[in-house]
Symmetry: C2
Subunit: 377 residues, 2 copies
């Protein structure tokens, strides 16, 4: 399946009733089971956790940010220090995004031309540029196992005409990205765009499926559009991608959103929600999110969630965690993030077990009792 | 030596040339070797570290703050949750200060009378009061192993007359504290005050040594006075306290300051320096402090310190740590604090070994090459 002989994806089980499936992705730095949730290590660190603590949650692959690491410390420095795996002490697979999304969401004064995008750093205002060649160079210097193609994230809402123009640019850029791919065992994923225009998404999937990518991602969703529209796009495109390719929904999501993507045949997910929730004192549980700042936890001796083996639940009461949150102690971030990431990995494991056991739909519906599609505030 | 049959101190070795000595303190929650450095867990957490990580540095006892925990979450809550040891998951000895120092340094609108001190919380401005009985009650509710007597921290500089009045109040308060001591196996330490007035320090030591305390601390030093004056006071008082009592210098200090206190017969130390340095990116080494923010570490592949077994030195380059500091990632605090606390414990171990080996003075002088008495900025 892979043009380079190292990366591979294998579909292992398919659920009845839905398109949910289990699989296994193999990279230069080991393999991971799908459906997979990838913790986000934006700046070469999953916020507040040691890599061994991240691995303890059950995570098998993490994500790092091309845009952030390009700005600081710079890919040349990371390369000089042996690449991201050595630099941040994570030995498992690493996926890097292409920077397109951050250029769209963070940087000032973007100026897009057919070749790429010029922008000012959100840190110091310096002039920077990303294009297919540069994005590839950064990601290979970082030592990524799964490289994302350079794309343009469309605004939402967007006029049809502007969407078409943006999509043409994205396609030209992604085609160009392929040309710079070193084909040395690293995977290269395409990013399908097209907003919530069914026809454009279809066109994008068709175009990119015609090129020798190792996997296919959905970009530009969950950025403000109605959830039913996001799911319609995922349903349409999920069915178009042949079963031999891993399918990745970028930047998603809440537990229920992930399960609803899984139901539509998608395999890989990443989201800052578990660590962002950790920073804000929100713990994720099978019975929904709980805000540990709440006064009702002041003397609560129970752990966040019975039966959870995370660092927080193993040794600490909700009362202690509430104290840390209220007192703004950083240990709150460490403990609650470790819980939330453990929760996400437990969710994915139960999801995989349910697919294999033929009970995926029941599992999805049981989660819908406590989790809605909207992120908790 | 103890009036309650559980707490004990044993002097084990005395160094030649100086008053430096090794000893062992036993409490209800285990024992620790002296000279000992106690990491500060102000709000029932050593900032950024799990208790097991604190123990990994070699720390055998930690300190917690009466004032802060009284304000938040309140000693009643901590007691309800099984006491500090259970609450924060630290099974070793815990020393609690009396709150006197924080009332002096943090609170607004203090009003001191003969009975105690009324003040406003620095958090919400609420009216609070501490006196000998309340300070004892808070510390017993917290479940402290070593309780500090309630004292008044004198200003520096201070007029002789005001110092005398303050000292009389402190003595009356400390005498009263004894009356409320539950004598259930917890130790109670006196705090000797007197500013930099030799006569007052002597008078304070004589008065408090006449009362049945389990150990003796020096308070009100290192708050702005000249270091030679601090050391003169420590030399004077250190010789007055019989060898059967542990001697504790509160809030000290840099490596060299601690060794200079050890040379004058002092056994126990606490300081926020290692974790405060951790927050600011300063790593402590046998060759002096290094500021990891410095651009010269940008691509430095070496660990902070060769031969150190801390979490940072085991797996991370100075370059990575610099990146975390510059990117304001909380993992910087965790890793550098773990290093700094490991460094302090290594320093104390080497100090104890040098005392036993008869080479303490050489060891002290070797540290003076790289560390000055003044805290690094």
């Amino acid at each position: 399946m892979s043009p380079n002989g190292v990366f591979s994806f294998q579909e292992l089980h398919r659920a009845p009733e839905t398109l949910a499936r289990c699989g296994k992705v193999t990279t230069k730095h080991g393999s991971f089971s799908t459906p997979a949730f990838m913790p986000v290590g934006t700046q070469a660190t999953v916020k507040g956790l040691l890599p061994e603590q991240v691995a303890d949650t059950g995570a098998e692959i993490i994500l790092a940010n091309t845009y952030h690491l390009h700005l600081r410390p710079g890919e040349a420095t990371v390369k000089e220090l042996g690449g991201l795996h050595t630099f941040m002490n994570w030995q498992g697979p690493i996926l890097t995004d292409s920077g397109g999304f951050q250029v769209w969401s963070l940087s000032d004064l973007r100026s897009i031309d057919d070749g790429g995008v010029s922008f000012k750093s959100h840190l110091d205002g310096s002039n920077l540029r990303l294009d297919p060649k540069i994005a590839m160079q950064i990601q290979t210097d970082l030592g990524s196992d799964i490289i994302m193609s350079f794309d343009e994230c469309m605004d939402y809402p967007i006029e049809r005409k502007a969407a078409e123009e943006s999509l043409q640019r994205t396609h030209a850029w992604e085609e160009k990205t392929l040309a710079y791919h070193p084909r040395d065992g690293r995977a290269l994923f395409a990013i399908i765009q097209g907003g919530v225009f069914e026809e454009l998404r279809k066109q994008s999937a068709e175009f990119l499926l015609g090129l020798p990518f190792d996997g296919y991602a959905m970009g530009g969703l969950f950025i403000g559009e109605i959830r039913d529209d996001s799911m319609a796009m995922l349903e349409l495109v999920g069915q178009m991608i042949p079963p031999g390719f891993p399918r990745y929904v970028m930047g998603v999501g809440t537990p229920l959103e992930i399960l609803d993507c899984v139901a539509r045949g998608w395999d890989m997910f990443d989201c800052v929600l578990p660590t962002r929730n950790g920073r804000h004192g929100t713990a994720m549980t099978m019975s929904g999110p709980i805000n540990l700042k709440n006064a009702r936890f002041k003397a609560d001796q129970a752990p966040i969630e019975e039966g959870c083996s995370c660092l927080a639940c193993a040794s600490y009461s909700r009362a202690y965690l509430r104290h840390l949150v209220v007192a703004k102690e950083v240990l709150a971030l460490t403990l609650i993030s470790h819980h939330n990431l453990s929760f996400m990995q437990r969710l994915m494991k139960q999801c995989r077990d349910a697919i294999q056991g033929g009970t995926f739909l029941q599992f999805r519906n049981s989660m819908a009792e406590f989790w809605t599609r909207k992120p908790s505030k």
